[in-house]
């Protein structure tokens, strides 16, 4: 079942590439159809999901792959991966809807996005480090071709920078994986077995270096300060749906790596490095918010708010590793908040990037100052943008509020220093209000004149993302029920 979910898109992609004379129209609809089927399968899995016992997995599949190096084809789902798998399917489906009207080589585009979807789903389903790495790297390859092939501006250069930088990160990750493999007895790449045996318990120096390699790899991907410099150019020059996938799904692979690999597999090292992680998180929160405040390019601004939002997650997972006596509940709250934030940021930021893409499609510009008074010619656009902005700054009633509230409640409970990150929320609020004001209010001027409102496909794709954010904000229980047991497992593993 899980294999079907993961490989269905890429099989369709192969068919689209190999079968001659598939019309553009058929390719677009095939893409949308498969994305929806995949989403439906995942919703079905969610309904049938029963939180597995600690150390166990739901929908588990395991086949021999490379027994002599202790690596197997091992897929499985728990409360950490199921929300992200579903998020991936939602975002790709929204992108498929959004792209229904695009005319730039639809057939290879559909094939490429289907390929990318399989790679992303694979990352979140993999329970073997090598399998994880395979999908992780393939997602980079896919995203490189998305930016280089369908981007604009200085796309080739940005794509190259993206690929080189994140490839460096992935190889750092690989080094860490090899270290874990050699540190485990018997040698294995299996995440479940590694979590059980927790290598390097008696060798803190080696464990520290292995964690450092893994952290650098994940920090580049997330990205946190100071490894974020690839992100703004990649976003600015990527096509709208490419940005949505990059921010919505690919960035989550970094933060997912923290809770899936770094914390449970290297608990000792994580606890000793937790302070550094907390500090990196706080710096990312403040730095991302401040730099975003200074941007006039919408896409760069959203990109830097991603650094800010990812910073909250890093702060939370760092705080979960700080040793204290009576904090298990707070730590669990922080980790739950981190996972909710991954989902929430995915939904909201993808919506924002799609909205920015609409600006570029109509007017070939992302410059906030060139627009003004968009609310008059495009009321629906204005309503959506304002909603997404409020959701992103963490207003109650949206998913971002649930996430950030839990993160702060959990982190401040264990690490009072986390208070330092609170101004980040204020700055984000200010910058989104400022941006909405410049873009939407006042007299219609500049590029806003004659701006046509959102059409049906745009409304559907962006609207569905925002609706989901509201649903999570108002009825978070269905999500929290899945995440909380898994978060407590992670906290227990870190605390042992």
């Amino acid at each position: 079942m899980l294999s079907l979910v993961v490989f269905l898109p890429v099989l369709t992609a192969v068919i689209l590439v190999v079968v001659p004379r598939v019309s553009d129209r058929a390719a677009r609809w095939a893409w949308l159809g498969i994305a929806l089927i995949d989403l439906a399968l995942l919703v079905g899995m969610w309904i049938g999901f029963d939180s597995p016992k600690p150390g166990a997995l739901a929908y588990e599949e395991r086949l021999q792959w490379m027994p002599s190096v202790g690596s197997s084809y091992h897929l499985g789902v728990d409360g950490l991966s199921l929300p992200l798998l579903t998020l991936t399917a939602v975002i790709f489906a929204a992108c498929a809807v959004y792209a229904l009207r695009e005319n730039d080589r639809p057939r290879p585009q559909a094939a490429l996005f289907l390929f990318l979807q399989s790679a992303c789903l694979g990352v979140f389903a993999a329970q073997d480090l090598i399998l994880f790495f395979v999908f992780f790297d393939l997602s980079l390859v896919g995203m490189y071709f998305v930016i280089a092939g369908w981007g604009h501006g200085n796309a080739a250069r940005s794509a190259l920078k993206f690929f080189l930088y994140t490839f460096l990160g992935s190889l750092a990750l690989l080094l860490g994986f090899i270290g874990l493999y050699l540190g485990a007895d018997p040698h294995t790449f299996d995440m479940v077995e590694l979590a059980r045996s927790a290598p390097f318990q008696d060798n803190p120096v080696a464990g520290g270096f292995v964690l450092a390699a893994i952290l650098i790899g994940l920090a580049i991907k997330t990205p946190t300060f100071p490894f974020h410099t690839w992100l703004p150019p990649a976003h600015t020059d990527a096509p709208a749906i490419g940005s949505a996938v990059l921010a919505g799904v690919l960035l989550k692979m970094g933060t997912y790596g923290f809770v899936r690999i770094a914390m449970p597999l290297l608990p000792d090292a994580w606890r000793s490095w937790a302070w550094i992680i907390v500090v990196v998180g706080i710096v990312s929160v403040l730095y991302g918010a401040l730099v975003a405040l200074a941007q006039t390019d919408v896409k760069r601004m959203i990109a830097y708010t991603s650094v800010n939002h990812m910073g909250y997650i890093v702060l939370a997972v760092g705080a979960a590793g700080v040793v204290s006596n009576t904090s298990a509940q707070a730590q669990q709250l922080a980790v739950t908040g981190a996972v909710v934030q991954m989902v929430s940021h995915g939904l909201i930021t993808s919506a924002l990037f799609l909205l920015a893409g609409v600006l570029y499609e109509r007017r070939q510009s992302y410059d906030l100052n060139a627009f003004g008074g968009l609310a008059a010619p495009a009321p629906r656009y204005a309503a959506f943008f304002a909603t997404a902005a409020f959701a992103s700054l963490g207003l109650p009633g949206f998913s971002g509020f649930i996430a950030e509230f839990q993160i702060f409640a959990g982190s401040i409970g264990t690490v009072p220093l986390s208070l330092l990150a609170l101004p980040g929320i204020l700055i984000t609020a200010a910058l989104f209000l400022l941006a909405s004001q410049r873009l939407l209010t006042g007299k219609t001027r500049g590029l806003s004149t004659g701006f046509s409102d959102l059409n049906t496909t745009e409304t559907l794709s962006i609207g569905s993302l925002l609706v989901l954010s509201v649903v999570i904000g108002v009825f978070p229980r269905f999500l929290l029920d899945v995440i909380e047991p898994a978060a407590s497992v992670v906290v227990n593993l870190v605390g042992r």
Binding site: S68, S71, V134, G149, F163, A172, L174
Partner: protein, 481 residues
């Protein structure tokens, strides 16, 4: 010892030798328009060799002719990779070679050089090692010079001079090792060298390694590789960057496996590996000629391939990872050359602009092969890199692992320099001096064999990555001494 049984064990080598002789004789008698018969003779001989080697793997590993030649997992992998790679070279060069004036001689020389590489991969005696070295080198000089251009003449001369120099060095080294070890077979040398003076052993090992590095195309014997790759015919270039490396690296592993720890040879080999990968990468950065770029890229690949050689016998993963990486490297590198062979009018990186539009299948094969050389999963070189890195780390050469990782990232840059124009939207037509008209460049591929082998090769690169587990467990048994 039973000479008849031993000779039968050498059946894979005998097939290749027979094929070479028959191809040469038939080529002398056949009229030019029937020369293509020699191609099928060569391919049949190589197939027979590969099958014989595969069947032979079922036998327990052993040494023959008084322990001078090993028939074990290393030799078997060497034989199979070499035979299949040579078949691949002949097929990708069918259009390029057929009808040329020296077609049959080319096949005969390819077979002889392949035979030399097979000898290298099984040699467990220093004298056999020298024989293998000469048998691979001499046909190569002729093959490189065969395209009769000024560049090819220069490249052949360069190769010859370097080969002669390092060959003599190698013989010197063999003499020294014989002097201090009292024998030439590895079985004798292993225990004898433990008590021998370390300085003399070091001189001998360095000199022999120098010769093997010439064959492998690694630092310090790499100078001929870029010139020869650029100036020789594409099929010959594909051959000389693949097949001799297989023999030379297995030979180096086999030799170092018996060298005692009295000299710090892992450090020496590690330094050579680091130098190869770094220099190859730096030199490849700004190359515009795709064949020269591939030439330098093979120099850097030798660096990665030497990681397991540097920890020979010190990690359980060393030998399987070397053999797996060699198989994967051969498939991936040959696929890249097959793409080049299929698009003969495109010589520089800019010529490839828009090639994805006109030749989507070849462009796909190019992505798979170039990203494969970087080590992107799920290709076979990824598994090769993963296991070699793990082996080197396990053998406590962590510094070398980090250098290899940094080099992998750097190598991505020049492979992308080639891929980016291939997939760019603008279709620029070839402007190289030797090119045909724009219309011809946009026309569908006419080199069907080369294109077919490129696509087949790309598929095998992916399939081998998936079945890598099986290859690793087959390659897990130890060498015979």
């Amino acid at each position: 010892m039973n000479v008849a049984v031993d000779t039968l064990t050498l059946l894979p080598e005998v097939c290749v030798l027979g094929g070479a002789i028959v191809a040469l004789l038939a080529g002398s008698f056949l009229p030019r328009k029937h020369q293509l018969a020699t191609r099928w003779i060569a391919i049949l001989a190589l197939m027979a060799s590969a099958i014989a080697a595969a069947v032979g793997m079922a036998q327990p590993s052993t040494t023959i002719f008084e322990a001078s030649f090993a028939v074990d997992v290393g030799a078997s992998f060497g034989r199979i990779i070499i035979a299949l790679a040579t078949i691949f070279v002949i097929v990708l060069g069918i259009e390029e070679l057929s009808g040329t004036r020296r077609e049959s001689e080319t096949y005969a020389l390819l077979l002889l050089a392949a035979l030399g590489a097979m000898l290298l991969s099984g040699a467990s005696d220093l004298l056999i090692l020298i024989t293998g070295y000469l048998l691979t080198s001499i046909p190569l000089y002729a093959l490189i010079g065969m395209s009769r251009s000024p560049g090819a003449a220069e490249a052949a001369m360069k190769t010859y001079l370097l080969g002669a120099l390092l060959g003599i060095m190698m013989m010197l080294g063999v003499t020294v090792l014989f002097g201090v070890g009292g024998g030439t077979s590895y079985r004798q040398l292993g225990p004898a060298l433990v008590d021998a003076p370390a300085a003399a052993v070091a001189v001998g090992v360095v000199a022999v390694l120098g010769g093997l590095m010439f064959k492998a195309g690694g630092v310090p014997g790499h100078f001929w590789i870029p010139d020869a790759t650029q100036a020789a015919g594409t099929a010959v270039a594909a051959f000389l960057t693949t097949v001799p490396k297989v023999g030379a690296l297995i030979a180096a592993y086999r030799l170092l496996d018996i060298i005692p720890a009295s000299i710090d040879w892992p450090l020496l080999v590690g330094l050579l590996a680091a130098a190869s990968m770094t220099l190859g990468n730096l030199a490849a950065f700004w190359q515009d000629d795709v064949r020269r770029l591939l030439g330098w890229s093979t120099v850097s690949q030798v660096g990665y391939l030497m990681l397991p050689v540097a920890v020979a016998g010190r990690s359980d993963l060393a030998l399987p990872s070397l053999l797996l990486y060699l198989a994967g490297y051969a498939a991936t590198n040959l696929t890249a050359f097959a793409v080049v062979a299929a698009l003969p009018s495109r010589r520089t990186i800019t010529d490839y602009r828009g090639a994805a539009r006109t030749h989507p299948w070849l462009a796909g094969a190019l992505i798979v092969s170039l990203l494969g050389l970087v080590g992107t999963p799920p290709t076979i070189v990824f598994i090769g890199k993963l296991t070699t890195l793990a082996a080197a780390w396990d053998g406590s050469l962590v510094w070398l692992v980090i250098i290899a990782v940094i080099n992998s990232v750097a190598s991505l840059f020049y492979y992308l320099r080639w891929l980016a124009p291939t997939f760019s939207r603008a279709v620029a037509l070839p402007v190289s001096p030797s090119t045909s008209s724009p219309a011809a460049a946009a026309a569908p591929v006419r080199r069907r064999w080369a294109a077919g082998s490129a696509v087949t090769g790309a598929a095998s690169v992916l399939v081998l990555g998936i079945v890598a587990g099986g290859i690793l467990s087959i390659a897990g048994s130890p060498l015979a001494h």
